[in-house]
Symmetry: C2
Subunit: 394 residues, 2 copies
């Protein structure tokens, strides 16, 4: 991968509350997030030249495909072109990557990137069935494996190999619920303790209900422009210093080692190289905690701690707000919620608010640089973005 | 939309036979097309830096989402990043647009763009139900409208307004079946006559079975590189002179006029502008004939004849091979087949074979420039590519 021919900046963000929206469909959610982003960027809808929207399984969830056009339509943006991207739970990070390409290519000067998912009203199926479309359907899901099962196996092996404890898993959930208390868009505003996690129903041993991110509806949107035009729109543009993505086998059973996600390693290497940074340069990170074990594994893979030390890092408070590397200040997928197609874009919204200094009680003091890490499936897709207040090379 | 910062060329193409593949899944089909494209380009898989794959409704059809990663996985291309695009029946044209952006951005130098759909083995639903996900589910499909119904209304109104005849509709199907006789990858190798169309079962008045493109499995793949590197790989690169896309309302009921597709008009204007060409400069075109009426409407909208004269243009043989503007030399969606996610990429494969002079008995003599027109839904997405043997601006 080479450097893009134009750098990209974020000038506006918008997000809905994550949770159960019984009176709003997919199109209403994306419109709400989109309008907020447009207002935040202080642009007009007519300034937008392209829409790139992520949605994982709108077909299986609500019977609606063609969601790029749907987003353009309901946001009042016809005849502008619209592209839907899908990469399971990484769908809208991939949308952001496509948006960056569209800007860097010189073809477009203002792109709305977003994501949405409507998971509570399921069309002709169950949410777990739809979500299993992110794994290898033929060789895993048909034989009864579900996502909690996939991550449970990863957790079991990580506990066996590195001594990660049940308590350390719980501490990820507790921290993220604590952070969500101060995030207005989070699905849960409820502190939990060690006992709550341990007493919650067992889903797939060792993972309990409070280790799992919830089913949610939600949408998020980001407005991007060429970096050298950003100051025309805002005094506080946030620059995309890296956009990297990597793939691994769809099936977990094909991996050499299930205590690591090899696409994490590859994508992180590319991202740090592109940004000319190292893990220690990152002030805060949104890390894909679809299940508590994934925050532990991925913090290791991203280089925020040594391999195997992820559990201890949480235990020692290093990933709390005020710690060495605050992780999931938004509440993460665990407590902010995980409307899968929106999740990647939602992580970017959190970083932008933090880097602008607008994160209120969950603000990481003096945050200059943030990293968003978004996983599709069990790590078959990993997309990483590094954002900064500082433009870097100009 | 601005000009891209790097022009793009096609150096290899591959396609499967379209039809019923009872022994091949989605992943086998894309792998077959992908390996053919890699061989045709005389590159190694390791040269590919990014995979962009279109698939419309793999979730509803076969329960498998995350098909970008699936394609990378089964083509042996991990850890290369992979993106799935979806825009209903225009999914893989949109993939090509994203591939063009990836090259033009400078971020990637060799991209595999493809599309695949597996429609004959349907998971928990019916093909028509899945396809209806391309229209407005809430306001159209839930009330019983299907795609033949949508295009039947367009046909009725076109016949009323412009005097288009039942016979002219039939002539589209007859021409495309004639062309498919010489296309080894076509689903049907069967000539049909006027009587066959008229005697075929009525699907949605006035459209009969032989007005409708069939359900099919299939895949197609294209290898693209920066135009200024193309001659390193091949003596006959085909240049992408324009890549344009436009949107319209998802619901047909929202349109001012249903005898035209406004996204056709917008996308065509952009495409001809980008290529610095006019309709008369096009030597052959693949036009989205999901139903016979669409070839007639879209030929008008693309400027190949006057508005309302589409029926007459077919009747007078102008769109036959040897005519003024040969349309659907491949057999079109009607007779080559319409595995929806593959269709756009498959149109490009046809144009490349024609422009290389490799189209055998269906060769358009001296073809220099071709246009591919791909529609999603009832025209909510339209993507147009113009290809040429000639690089144009350098």
């Amino acid at each position: 991968m080479n450097s893009p021919r134009r750098d990209v900046a974020i000038i506006g963000v918008g997000i809905t509350k994550y949770g159960e929206h019984w009176n709003q469909g997919l199109k209403h959610l994306i419109t709400e997030a989109g309008v907020r982003a447009i207002k935040d960027a202080r642009i007009s809808g007519s300034d937008i030249e392209l829409i790139v929207g992520g949605s994982m399984s709108s077909g299986m969830f609500v019977g609606q495909e063609h969601t790029g056009a749907l987003f353009a339509d309901y946001m009042g943006l016809n005849p502008k072109p619209a592209i839907r991207t899908e990469a399971a739970c990484a769908s809208s990070s991939v949308a952001l990557r496509v948006g960056c390409m569209a800007i860097a290519s010189g073809m477009h000067d203002c792109v709305a990137v977003g994501g949405a998912e409507k998971m509570t009203d399921v069309y002709g199926s169950q949410a777990t069935t739809a979500l299993a479309g992110a794994m290898d359907r033929d060789n895993e899901a048909y034989f009864g494996l579900t996502f909690p099962g996939v991550y449970a196996m990863m957790a079991k092996r990580h506990m066996h190999q590195y001594g990660t404890t049940r308590e350390q898993l719980s501490l990820v959930a507790i921290k993220n619920h604590d952070n969500a208390m101060h995030n207005p868009c989070a699905q849960y505003h409820r502190k939990i303790g060690l006992e709550d996690v341990l007493k919650s129903p067992l889903v797939a041993d060792p993972l309990r209900l409070l280790d799992c991110s919830p089913i949610a509806d939600g949408a998020a949107c980001i407005i991007i422009v060429p970096a050298d035009q950003a100051k025309k729109y805002t005094d506080t543009p946030i620059y995309i210093r890296a956009s990297a993505q990597s793939s691994d086998t769809l099936g977990l059973y094909m991996r050499k080692d299930i205590t690591t996600i090899s696409a994490n390693i590859h994508a992180a290497r590319l991202a740090f190289q592109m940004a000319n940074m190292k893990p220690a340069d990152i002030d805060l990170a949104e890390v894909h905690d679809c299940f508590t074990i994934n925050e532990i594994i991925s913090c290791e893979d991203l280089g925020f701690c040594k391999k195997g030390a992820g559990g201890k890092t949480v235990e020692e408070g290093e990933t709390q707000i005020g710690g060495r590397i605050p992780v999931n200040t938004s509440g993460g997928l665990k407590a902010k919620g995980h409307p899968v197609g929106a999740t990647g874009a939602g992580q970017i919204v959190e970083l932008v608010e933090q880097l602008r200094g607008d994160a209120g009680k969950r603000q990481v003091s003096g945050a200059e640089t943030g990293l968003a890490h978004n996983v599709g499936g069990s790590g078959s897709t990993v997309a990483i973005h590094i954002l900064s207040r500082n433009r870097g090379r100009a």
